[in-house]
Protein backbone atom coordinates (compact mmCIF):
# COMPACT_ATOMS: atom_id res chain seq x y z
CA UNK A 1 0.00 0.00 0.00
CA UNK A 2 1.39 3.34 -1.00
CA UNK A 3 1.83 6.26 1.35
CA UNK A 4 -0.69 8.30 -0.66
CA UNK A 5 -3.30 5.58 -0.22
CA UNK A 6 -2.78 5.52 3.55
CA UNK A 7 -3.09 9.32 3.68
CA UNK A 8 -6.24 9.19 1.56
CA UNK A 9 -7.91 6.71 3.87
CA UNK A 10 -6.85 8.58 7.03
CA UNK A 11 -8.32 11.84 5.75
CA UNK A 12 -11.39 10.16 4.26
CA UNK A 13 -12.16 8.53 7.61
CA UNK A 14 -11.56 11.87 9.38
CA UNK A 15 -13.93 13.64 6.98
CA UNK A 16 -16.72 11.07 6.99
CA UNK A 17 -16.47 10.35 10.71
CA UNK A 18 -16.70 13.96 11.78
CA UNK A 19 -19.43 14.60 9.20
CA UNK A 20 -21.51 11.80 10.73
CA UNK A 21 -20.85 13.19 14.21
CA UNK A 22 -22.04 16.55 12.88
CA UNK A 23 -25.25 15.08 11.48
CA UNK A 24 -26.14 12.76 14.35
CA UNK A 25 -25.08 14.86 17.34
CA UNK A 26 -27.82 16.25 19.57
CA UNK A 27 -25.80 19.29 20.62
CA UNK A 28 -25.42 22.02 18.02
CA UNK A 29 -22.06 23.23 19.40
CA UNK A 30 -20.66 19.71 19.00
CA UNK A 31 -22.03 19.75 15.45
CA UNK A 32 -20.26 23.02 14.68
CA UNK A 33 -16.92 21.71 15.94
CA UNK A 34 -17.36 18.44 14.05
CA UNK A 35 -18.04 20.54 10.95
CA UNK A 36 -14.65 22.19 11.50
CA UNK A 37 -12.88 18.81 11.38
CA UNK A 38 -14.90 17.87 8.29
CA UNK A 39 -13.77 21.04 6.51
CA UNK A 40 -10.14 20.46 7.51
CA UNK A 41 -10.41 16.90 6.17
CA UNK A 42 -11.83 18.19 2.89
CA UNK A 43 -8.91 20.63 2.65
CA UNK A 44 -6.52 17.69 3.11
CA UNK A 45 -8.37 15.82 0.35
CA UNK A 46 -7.79 18.88 -1.89
CA UNK A 47 -4.08 18.68 -1.10
CA UNK A 48 -4.09 15.00 -2.11
CA UNK A 49 -5.65 16.09 -5.41
CA UNK A 50 -2.81 18.64 -5.93
CA UNK A 51 -5.13 21.63 -5.51
CA UNK A 52 -2.85 23.63 -3.22
CA UNK A 53 -4.44 27.05 -3.71
CA UNK A 54 -7.94 25.67 -3.20
CA UNK A 55 -6.88 23.89 -0.02
CA UNK A 56 -5.52 27.15 1.39
CA UNK A 57 -8.68 28.97 0.33
CA UNK A 58 -10.82 26.28 1.94
CA UNK A 59 -8.97 26.67 5.23
CA UNK A 60 -9.13 30.49 5.14
CA UNK A 61 -12.72 30.93 3.97
CA UNK A 62 -14.51 27.94 5.49
CA UNK A 63 -12.62 27.25 8.71
CA UNK A 64 -11.64 30.86 9.32
CA UNK A 65 -14.78 32.57 8.08
CA UNK A 66 -17.95 30.59 7.61
CA UNK A 67 -17.43 28.42 10.69
CA UNK A 68 -16.91 31.49 12.90
CA UNK A 69 -20.10 32.98 11.42
CA UNK A 70 -21.98 29.76 12.19
CA UNK A 71 -20.67 29.71 15.77
CA UNK A 72 -21.78 33.32 16.24
CA UNK A 73 -25.18 32.38 14.84
CA UNK A 74 -25.40 29.49 17.32
CA UNK A 75 -24.48 31.75 20.23
CA UNK A 76 -26.90 34.52 19.27
CA UNK A 77 -29.89 32.26 18.64
CA UNK A 78 -29.63 29.65 21.39
CA UNK A 79 -31.02 31.67 24.30
CA UNK A 80 -34.30 30.46 25.66
CA UNK A 81 -35.67 32.38 28.64
CA UNK A 82 -32.31 33.48 30.05
CA UNK A 83 -30.51 30.15 29.72
CA UNK A 84 -28.71 28.55 26.84
CA UNK A 85 -30.29 25.68 24.97
CA UNK A 86 -28.08 23.86 22.49
CA UNK A 87 -30.36 20.89 21.79
CA UNK A 88 -31.43 20.29 18.22
CA UNK A 89 -34.76 18.78 17.26
CA UNK A 90 -34.67 15.84 14.87
CA UNK A 91 -37.76 14.89 12.89
CA UNK A 92 -38.56 12.77 9.83
CA UNK A 93 -35.67 10.42 10.56
CA UNK A 94 -37.04 7.50 8.56
CA UNK A 95 -37.90 9.36 5.29
CA UNK A 96 -34.66 11.34 5.46
CA UNK A 97 -32.61 8.16 5.97
CA UNK A 98 -34.38 6.42 3.11
CA UNK A 99 -33.81 9.37 0.79
CA UNK A 100 -30.14 9.87 1.70
CA UNK A 101 -29.33 6.15 1.51
CA UNK A 102 -31.06 6.02 -1.87
CA UNK A 103 -29.01 8.98 -3.05
CA UNK A 104 -25.83 7.34 -1.75
CA UNK A 105 -26.54 4.00 -3.44
CA UNK A 106 -27.52 5.58 -6.76
CA UNK A 107 -24.51 7.91 -6.81
CA UNK A 108 -22.10 5.12 -5.89
CA UNK A 109 -23.58 2.86 -8.57
CA UNK A 110 -23.22 5.59 -11.21
CA UNK A 111 -19.72 6.54 -10.11
CA UNK A 112 -18.38 2.98 -10.07
CA UNK A 113 -20.00 1.64 -13.25
CA UNK A 114 -19.24 4.56 -15.57
CA UNK A 115 -16.10 4.38 -17.67
CA UNK A 116 -14.63 7.84 -17.08
CA UNK A 117 -12.44 9.24 -19.82
CA UNK A 118 -9.32 9.41 -17.70
CA UNK A 119 -5.94 10.59 -18.89
CA UNK A 120 -2.39 9.79 -17.97
CA UNK A 121 -1.43 11.55 -14.76
CA UNK A 122 1.19 14.16 -15.49
CA UNK A 123 3.58 15.48 -12.90
CA UNK A 124 1.67 18.08 -10.93
CA UNK A 125 2.80 21.66 -10.68
CA UNK A 126 1.93 24.67 -8.58
CA UNK A 127 -1.50 25.97 -9.47
CA UNK A 128 -1.35 29.49 -8.02
CA UNK A 129 0.31 31.20 -10.98
CA UNK A 130 -1.86 29.42 -13.56
CA UNK A 131 -5.03 30.20 -11.61
CA UNK A 132 -4.04 33.86 -11.38
CA UNK A 133 -3.45 34.05 -15.12
CA UNK A 134 -6.78 32.36 -15.79
CA UNK A 135 -8.62 34.73 -13.44
CA UNK A 136 -7.21 37.70 -15.35
CA UNK A 137 -7.92 36.29 -18.82
CA UNK A 138 -10.55 33.60 -19.45
CA UNK A 139 -12.44 34.06 -16.20
CA UNK A 140 -12.34 37.86 -16.00
CA UNK A 141 -16.12 38.35 -16.24
CA UNK A 142 -17.03 35.71 -13.59
CA UNK A 143 -14.30 37.19 -11.37
CA UNK A 144 -15.83 40.67 -11.56
CA UNK A 145 -19.34 39.29 -11.10
CA UNK A 146 -18.16 37.40 -8.01
CA UNK A 147 -16.77 40.66 -6.63
CA UNK A 148 -20.07 42.44 -7.23
CA UNK A 149 -21.94 39.49 -5.64
CA UNK A 150 -19.78 39.68 -2.52
CA UNK A 151 -20.35 43.45 -2.29
CA UNK A 152 -24.12 42.96 -2.58
CA UNK A 153 -24.03 40.19 0.03
CA UNK A 154 -22.07 42.37 2.46
CA UNK A 155 -24.41 45.35 2.02
CA UNK A 156 -27.50 43.13 2.27
CA UNK A 157 -26.42 41.33 5.42
CA UNK A 158 -25.33 44.57 7.11
CA UNK A 159 -28.70 46.12 6.28
CA UNK A 160 -30.62 43.11 7.58
CA UNK A 161 -28.52 42.74 10.70
CA UNK A 162 -28.63 46.41 11.69
CA UNK A 163 -32.42 46.56 11.33
CA UNK A 164 -32.36 44.36 14.44
CA UNK A 165 -31.83 47.41 16.62
CA UNK A 166 -34.75 49.40 15.24
CA UNK A 167 -38.16 48.93 16.80
CA UNK A 168 -40.26 46.26 15.09
CA UNK A 169 -43.34 48.51 15.13
CA UNK A 170 -41.90 51.11 12.77
CA UNK A 171 -41.57 49.12 9.61
CA UNK A 172 -40.08 50.88 6.58
Amino acid sequence: MEFTAILFYVFAILTIGSASIMVFSKNIVHSAFALMFTLIGVAAIYVLLYADFLAATQLLVYVGGILILILFGVMLTSQESAKLNFKTVTVNVVPASILSVTALVLLTYVFTTTQWASRNLETPQETVEILGTMLMSDYLLPFIIAGVLLLIAIIGSILMATRLNSKPTESN
Binding site: M1, L48, Y62, I66, W116, L121, L149
Partner: protein
Amino acid sequence: MEPSFLQWLADPGLSHFLILSAILFSLGIMAVLSKRNVIMVLMGVELILNSANINFIAFSRFTDLSLDGHMIGLFVIIVAAAEAAVALAIVLNAYKRFKTINLDDISMLKG
Protein backbone atom coordinates in the same frame (compact mmCIF):
# COMPACT_ATOMS: atom_id res chain seq x y z
CA MET B 1 -13.10 -11.09 -7.07
CA GLU B 2 -11.63 -10.52 -3.64
CA PRO B 3 -7.98 -9.85 -4.67
CA SER B 4 -9.04 -7.43 -7.40
CA PHE B 5 -11.24 -5.57 -4.89
CA LEU B 6 -8.31 -5.32 -2.48
CA GLN B 7 -6.15 -4.05 -5.31
CA TRP B 8 -8.84 -1.50 -6.15
CA LEU B 9 -8.86 -0.41 -2.50
CA ALA B 10 -5.07 -0.03 -2.37
CA ASP B 11 -4.85 2.39 -5.28
CA PRO B 12 -7.01 5.52 -4.78
CA GLY B 13 -8.22 6.80 -8.12
CA LEU B 14 -11.07 8.91 -9.44
CA SER B 15 -13.87 6.68 -8.17
CA HIS B 16 -12.55 6.70 -4.58
CA PHE B 17 -12.84 10.47 -4.42
CA LEU B 18 -16.26 10.34 -6.10
CA ILE B 19 -17.54 7.82 -3.55
CA LEU B 20 -16.17 9.96 -0.71
CA SER B 21 -18.09 12.93 -2.08
CA ALA B 22 -21.24 10.78 -2.48
CA ILE B 23 -21.06 9.82 1.21
CA LEU B 24 -20.63 13.48 2.21
CA PHE B 25 -23.57 14.42 -0.04
CA SER B 26 -25.90 11.88 1.53
CA LEU B 27 -24.90 13.00 5.03
CA GLY B 28 -25.67 16.58 4.01
CA ILE B 29 -29.08 15.53 2.63
CA MET B 30 -29.71 13.75 5.96
CA ALA B 31 -28.87 16.93 7.92
CA VAL B 32 -31.01 19.17 5.71
CA LEU B 33 -34.05 16.90 5.84
CA SER B 34 -34.05 15.69 9.42
CA LYS B 35 -32.91 18.69 11.47
CA ARG B 36 -35.32 21.40 12.52
CA ASN B 37 -32.70 23.94 13.59
CA VAL B 38 -32.01 26.51 10.84
CA ILE B 39 -28.28 26.56 11.59
CA MET B 40 -28.06 22.76 11.33
CA VAL B 41 -29.75 23.00 7.93
CA LEU B 42 -27.16 25.60 6.89
CA MET B 43 -24.35 23.27 7.99
CA GLY B 44 -25.89 20.50 5.88
CA VAL B 45 -25.90 22.82 2.87
CA GLU B 46 -22.20 23.55 3.45
CA LEU B 47 -21.56 19.80 3.49
CA ILE B 48 -23.36 19.37 0.16
CA LEU B 49 -21.38 22.24 -1.40
CA ASN B 50 -18.12 20.68 -0.19
CA SER B 51 -19.00 17.32 -1.70
CA ALA B 52 -19.73 18.98 -5.05
CA ASN B 53 -16.37 20.74 -4.82
CA ILE B 54 -14.54 17.46 -4.20
CA ASN B 55 -16.18 16.14 -7.38
CA PHE B 56 -15.03 19.13 -9.45
CA ILE B 57 -11.46 18.92 -8.24
CA ALA B 58 -11.25 15.13 -8.59
CA PHE B 59 -12.42 15.42 -12.20
CA SER B 60 -9.94 18.23 -12.75
CA ARG B 61 -7.12 15.99 -11.52
CA PHE B 62 -8.05 12.76 -13.26
CA THR B 63 -9.67 13.87 -16.55
CA ASP B 64 -9.15 16.47 -19.25
CA LEU B 65 -11.00 19.19 -17.37
CA SER B 66 -7.56 20.53 -16.33
CA LEU B 67 -7.59 23.63 -14.14
CA ASP B 68 -11.10 24.74 -15.08
CA GLY B 69 -12.37 22.50 -12.29
CA HIS B 70 -10.24 24.39 -9.77
CA MET B 71 -11.75 27.63 -11.06
CA ILE B 72 -15.31 26.36 -10.61
CA GLY B 73 -14.40 25.18 -7.11
CA LEU B 74 -13.06 28.63 -6.28
CA PHE B 75 -16.29 30.28 -7.40
CA VAL B 76 -18.33 27.75 -5.40
CA ILE B 77 -16.38 28.75 -2.27
CA ILE B 78 -17.01 32.46 -3.02
CA VAL B 79 -20.75 31.92 -3.47
CA ALA B 80 -20.87 29.76 -0.32
CA ALA B 81 -19.30 32.58 1.70
CA ALA B 82 -21.87 35.09 0.40
CA GLU B 83 -24.69 32.60 1.04
CA ALA B 84 -23.60 31.95 4.62
CA ALA B 85 -23.41 35.66 5.45
CA VAL B 86 -26.85 36.46 4.03
CA ALA B 87 -28.46 33.34 5.49
CA LEU B 88 -27.17 34.06 8.99
CA ALA B 89 -28.43 37.65 8.77
CA ILE B 90 -31.86 36.27 7.81
CA VAL B 91 -31.70 33.76 10.69
CA LEU B 92 -30.89 36.55 13.17
CA ASN B 93 -33.84 38.59 11.89
CA ALA B 94 -36.17 35.60 12.15
CA TYR B 95 -34.96 34.91 15.69
CA LYS B 96 -35.56 38.53 16.64
CA ARG B 97 -39.11 38.34 15.33
CA PHE B 98 -40.24 34.81 16.24
CA LYS B 99 -37.99 34.12 19.29
CA THR B 100 -37.19 30.69 17.85
CA ILE B 101 -35.21 29.16 15.02
CA ASN B 102 -37.21 25.95 14.79
CA LEU B 103 -38.26 25.68 11.16
CA ASP B 104 -41.67 24.21 12.00
CA ASP B 105 -42.56 27.20 14.18
CA ILE B 106 -41.62 29.78 11.56
CA SER B 107 -44.67 29.27 9.38
CA MET B 108 -46.20 32.74 8.97
CA LEU B 109 -45.75 34.37 5.59
CA LYS B 110 -46.46 37.85 6.98
CA GLY B 111 -45.22 38.03 10.55
